[in-house]
């Protein structure tokens, strides 16, 4: 018994109190900032360098839905591109994922895009079914970590269910492989309506490094409303949690 008490006292209070403002390592790769004096030539250089086609050769903007967060563009153009440790980058629209040169403000979450029933029905409790469709197990582990003793997503009544029948939506990870396409569809169909779709990780949002692979089949996403985009490689639990809080309108 004494041993257990010692373990517990060493363990202490693990749960992060303020999930909105938890400090993370200064070199964590979150929202990038692109200097507005980036030249056309520089844009072409980093756009050619970018392994996942996230940097537009025209505008110089970085699309977080495509970015694999390797930071090589910053290493190539230090002073012009800088990745901040702002992890609050999950949002409700593809457009908001594009960071334009000169912009150094938080990724905008457009609440008007949230379907009214989502907040009405799920604000108090949201059960999610996770489907890994070619994910490399890093996003999956970070999703699982969102519910652990540190991040404790359960405090808001949000958790992952064992069955899609008990869920209010699905969280997709991975670029969506051809071999998983049918199972993903069946899982989605098994979730009772109304239901939400969350894309977790760059692979899920755009296909990431796999987007040209013939083994990937992203038809499932055609003409479907995506409720939340969570960029990252892998996603940080705090990115996911803050995204869900924004989606549901949870005030800390």
């Amino acid at each position: 018994m004494l041993k257990e008490i010692k373990v517990l006292s060493d363990h202490g209070w693990q749960s992060i109190k303020d999930l909105r403002n938890q400090p993370v390592s200064s070199i964590f790769r979150g929202r990038p900032v692109i200097s507005d004096d980036i030249t056309e030539n520089e844009v072409i250089r980093v756009s050619d360098l970018c392994p996942s086609g996230a940097i537009s050769g025209d505008s110089g903007g970085i699309d977080l839905g495509r970015c694999v967060f390797c930071r090589e563009c910053e290493f190539c153009l230090p002073g012009k591109i800088r990745f901040t440790n702002d992890y609050r980058i999950a949002t409700s629209s593809m457009e908001a994922l594009v960071i334009k040169p000169g912009s150094d403000i938080r990724v905008r979450f457009d609440s008007s895009l949230v379907r009214s029933e989502v907040r009405k029905l799920f604000k108090g409790a949201l059960k999610l079914r996770q489907v890994s469709a070619g994910g490399d197990n890093s996003c999956e582990m970070e999703l699982a970590a969102s519910g652990n003793v540190n991040f404790d997503l359960g405090r808001y009544g949000i958790e992952f269910t064992a069955s899609p029948r008990h869920a209010d939506g699905i969280v997709i990870t991975g670029p969506i492989t051809e071999n998983m396409a049918k199972a993903l569809q069946m899982t989605y169909d098994a979730v009772p309506a109304p239901k939400i779709i969350i894309l977790a990780g760059t692979d899920a949002i755009s296909g990431g490094i796999f987007k040209e692979s013939p083994a990937v089949n992203r038809q499932f996403l055609d003409r479907r409303h995506i409720d939340l985009y969570v960029p990252g490689n892998p996603i940080h639990p705090l990115t996911f949690i803050n995204g869900i809080m924004d989606l549901l309108g949870i005030k800390p």
Binding site: S25, L49, E72, S132, M141, N150, M180, E212
Partner: protein, 505 residues
Amino acid sequence: MNNSYSETENNSLPLDIKDIPVLRYPDFFDQVTLLLKNPANHCVNYYAAATTGAVKYFCCIADDIDKKIRILAHESDNNEQILMSLTPECPSMHIFEREIFENFGVEFRDHPWLKPVRYPQNRPDRSRVMDNYPFYEIESEELHEVGVGPVHAGVIEPGHFRFICNGEKVLHLEIQLGYQHRGIERLFQDLNSSLQRCILSESIAGDSSVAHGLAHSQLIESLAGPDVGETLQIERCIGLELERIAVHIGDTAALCGDVAYQLGQVTCEALRTVVINTMQFWCGNRFGKGLIRPGGTNYPLNDTIAEEILKNLDNIGRRFDRITSMIYSLPSVLARFEDIGTVTKQQALSTGAVGMTARTCGVLRDIRSTHPFQYYKYYPVSPAILDAGDVLARGKIRSLEVRESIRIVHDLIDQWRRTNREIGKPVYDYNLRPDSYAVSLIEGWRGEICHSAATDASGKIMHYKVKDPSLHNWMALALAVRDQEISDFPVCNKSFNLSYCGNDL
């Protein structure tokens, strides 16, 4: 010098592909069987690759005594569709032959179960689909089948498990994989930029980003020759050990969770968080993505980071020791772990098991010690070996390895302080040596990883092969649950913690 094969070593110069003798299949068969009869040898990779108008077979056999890797080759024109199977003589070859069968339609005569491995996108036989996998069946009124997956109850990757049960007891388990197939090997050939290939290597299995990233960079360095100094070698080993520590602690948490020992679970979860946050403190990513690059690194270690690593590991080591001594002495935990999911030494050898699965059956499989790479060449590692082969052994070996890895990191940081600390930036504009063949072996936390590649006359990658340790160990899991209660499957599965995406590629 033997004229049947070429010899190389891990983490060394590449071979001239033209120097690798190409054998007729009967000679290839005899040589492979002869080599594998020697218990010091095991096959680290065997596969076929398409060349113009032909299919070329490469078999890489590692000798744990003299540390050589022997490469045997055979070539066949596209008409040669029936070959004698090596599996009856050398059972561990079963999975490699299945893969060649699936990729090229080659029938291996006398192979016990020529079944698909992962349903790759470019398979010749498109009539084989995920839905018609030929499961083993037993006709009986007393038996029933239980199908689980591909989507599982937890937040994990997809795979299908088909049990044949007698009451609550498992008679047979067959595991069907392939859901995660992303076409990795093909992408290694097709992607143009070397940076893309780095990112790809880190995505083979995200829980082993450092290990697979290193296997790739080491292979590129072998083929292209950017020299890697002592400092970088040490730092890479530290990264690899941090990855091992983090996952082992996380696995311990998961094992406790499965048997409802909450104190063990939450304590280990919190400890793992500290380790991966330390990784993030070093390179900005909790899984070490971005840390490993060919020829250099963007994230050299410095004194502040080294201090942070040591401080955190000391704290974690002490607390992890305390909790594991409790976990592994608690009767309610032991009752669920001991004599559950046992793999015998014979089974480990015949399935070609690697990593902890082998080391808990008294089989020394640890590339750090048998085919050392990077700084392990100068820093001998003595792996922990247990012999019970059950869930308890696979749990306990993790606590032994965490302790050992913390000690190794201490030593490595001591060594690192003595180096000149000169590390270059990553090298992306390398030229691969033309007409060459190279093999790269890494001991990740899960076991032996093998990357190999061949280049053509212009130095372009002709084929790139990845072998994750899971390719061997899934069969060990299937054997482990025989005669067990089906309710023990989750804890057995966790004790192996195999990779779906690493298998499916």
